[in-house]
């Protein structure tokens, strides 16, 4: 059984569908449904049409085209596209036009992908439900009263709502995997250091990774293969992940089954995920029990680490180079302080203040130093688990998508939504979410973690979860 994206790629390659037809299809869907979903910030209709026309002309002449040729791709609005707004869904950057493109954008364009729109997100990626955007909340296409997850909720919703073939998001503590789970699409956070962060407006630089959204494993793998690889402009992007041929076969693969993942999830969600794991066992994988006792500490370790880095990342927004200058310009400090306060949302201020507090000289040892040590223990625990298994499996999210506005303003309650996802960022391992069923018509995601560098195995296991097999007449582009 092939996949939606594979069929689209084959139809484009064979000429059954033109790039222009593909783009017009998505622009029509955006016109019809975006007002209800609010997944997008800017739509690049003219640019997308021009690029599609150019690709069709080259194909007609028999020229070679890239592996993403004709596919419509939506981009989270914290990834810079030259000449387009990069707002991070914040008032601070509402009128910021990127003077350069991120490496991932250059690689998509070099592969002839067509960037169709920028996507809504939680402000500066601070959130798990895309209701913290300074502009408007995004709605889950499966139930418009519910959240799509976050912070890359716009990107996930864009794929789920049929506004684009594929999308990019960024994942610092689960911000690709959470909305993938809630929107019923595939979302992946690659191994840290395999996808360039140059041009990604950072949240936590030791945690951030850009990752793909797709209706299926084939599409996620295709987009990832186009954007990954060492980049001299990102000093940490030095790794090439292992990317063996995708077969959809996982005989003999050991699935680590930590009870802690399930202890922290709603019983109905756990039951749906266990059904997905049974499917993987029927495909030839074996389950082994592993333990992750430090999981209960992962949220504090993650948030303390992230806030420390986030407060540093936010220092550059001063109302002078970025944002709006304040009127009170008696001194530089007054002017900057007021501009920042006027342009940042409440969650931004909270995280900046938390990160500043724990890194102050008098508090550093009590908080930040301990966080760094705890992070090493979390990383070591995951590495030990991987001595017994090839993949760790469990629910992506501990619950189903909540109603927009339902989650209380208790910050720790919000942060606990990341309990199953943030360890992967702390350890730098790849992790992905694939749909494994529905409860009350809402999608449930099954999450898999792999060892550092085993991104290919991860996409192969996602394909097995779908029951994917190479299409008999498929043109594998990678």
């Amino acid at each position: 059984m092939g996949s939606v994206t594979e069929k689209k790629v084959n139809d484009l390659a064979s000429g059954k569908l033109s790039a222009s037809e593909n783009i017009e299809y998505y622009l029509a869907r955006i016109t019809k449904n975006e007002e209800k979903v609010k997944a997008l910030i800017d739509v690049f209709a003219d640019d997308a049409r021009a690029k599609a026309k150019e690709i069709d002309a080259r194909r007609k002449k028999g020229e070679k085209v890239g592996k993403l040729a004709g596919l419509a791709i939506a981009i989270k609005n914290n990834i810079c596209i030259k000449g387009k707004r990069a707002t991070c869904a914040s008032k601070m950057l509402e009128n910021y036009y990127a003077p350069y493109s991120a490496t991932v954008i250059e690689r998509i364009e070099a592969a002839d992908g067509i960037i169709i729109a920028s996507c809504n997100m939680d402000e500066f990626a601070c959130g798990s439900d895309t209701t913290k955007s300074a502009f408007y909340p995004t709605h889950n296409p499966h139930d418009l009263d519910r959240v799509p997850g976050g912070s890359s909720g716009g990107s996930a919703a864009a794929v789920a709502a049929g506004f684009a073939d594929l999308a990019l998001g960024s994942d610092t503590g689960g911000s690709v995997r959470c909305p993938a789970s809630f929107c019923g699409v595939v979302g992946m956070k690659p191994t840290y250091g395999t996808v360039s962060r140059y041009g990604l407006i950072d949240m936590g630089m030791s945690l951030d990774q850009i990752g793909p959204f797709s209706p299926d494993a084939f599409g996620a793998r295709l987009l990832l293969s186009a954007i990954m690889g060492p980049d001299g402009k990102d000093e940490m992007c030095t790794l090439e992940p292992k990317f063996e041929e995708m077969t959809g076969k996982i005989e003999g693969i050991k699935l680590g089954f930590p009870k802690e993942f399930f202890d922290n999830a709603d019983p109905k969600v756990s039951a749906a995920v266990k059904t997905g794991i049974t499917k993987l066992e029927r495909a030839g994988a074996e389950t082994v029990e592993v333990r992750l006792p430090l999981l209960k500490h992962s949220v504090p370790v993650y948030y303390l680490q992230m806030c420390a880095e986030f407060s540093s990342a936010m220092q550059k927004y001063d109302g002078l180079r970025y944002g709006f200058p304040s009127e009170a310009n008696r001194t530089l400090v007054d002017s900057v302080s007021e501009a920042r306060s006027n342009s940042f949302g409440k969650e931004i201020k909270r995280r900046v203040l938390l990160g500043t507090y724990i890194t102050m000289k008098e508090h550093r040892d009590a908080w930040y130093t301990k966080t760094l040590k705890a992070r090493k223990l979390v990383r070591d625990e995951l590495d030990s688990a991987f001595e017994k298994c090839d993949l760790l499996v469990g629910p992506t999210m501990p619950c189903l998508p909540w109603k927009i506005g339902e989650r209380s303003m208790n910050p720790v309650e919000m942060y606990l939504a990341d309990i199953l996802t943030c360890s992967a960022n702390l350890a730098g391992v790849p992790a992905a979410s694939g749909p494994c069923g529905k409860i009350d018509n809402m999608p449930v995601g099954l999450q898999m973690h792999a060892k550092r560098g085993e991104d290919g195995l991860l996409t192969n296991a996602l394909a097995a979860l779908e029951g994917w097999r190479p299409a008999s007449s498929g043109i594998l582009m990678f």
Binding site: G193, Y303, R340, A366, A374
Partner: protein, 96 residues
């Protein structure tokens, strides 16, 4: 760890945020609640025996050749300045 009382005045000054008294009260309470719960990391066994880990992956940072090049698009950058004179960003004075 004893319950932390947080005076945001100094923290906000370092963070370059101007907060109203109401905001200070609300956010102080939030941070005290957050750190109260996050203090659980002190209970992690073996914490005192571990080195700090700043690095997610092993290996050294990638270096590139130190080659002089020109900025190709200075206008794209300066046109974003909120206040400017020519190619210069206008900022308030930093000293009284």
């Amino acid at each position: 760890m004893a319950e932390e009382k947080i005076d945001l005045t100094r923290v906000a000054e370092i963070a370059r945020l101007k907060l109203s008294d109401e905001e200070k009260a609300v956010i102080s309470k939030d941070l005290e609640g957050i750190l109260g719960q996050f203090a659980q990391i002190n209970a992690i066994e073996g914490l005192d025996k571990v080195e700090e880990n700043d690095y997610v992956i092993d290996g050294a940072n990638a270096l590139r050749e130190d080659v002089i090049s020109e900025c190709k698009n200075p206008d794209d950058i300066t046109k974003l300045f909120t206040r400017k004179e020519g190619k210069f960003l206008v900022a308030p004075k930093s000293l009284d």
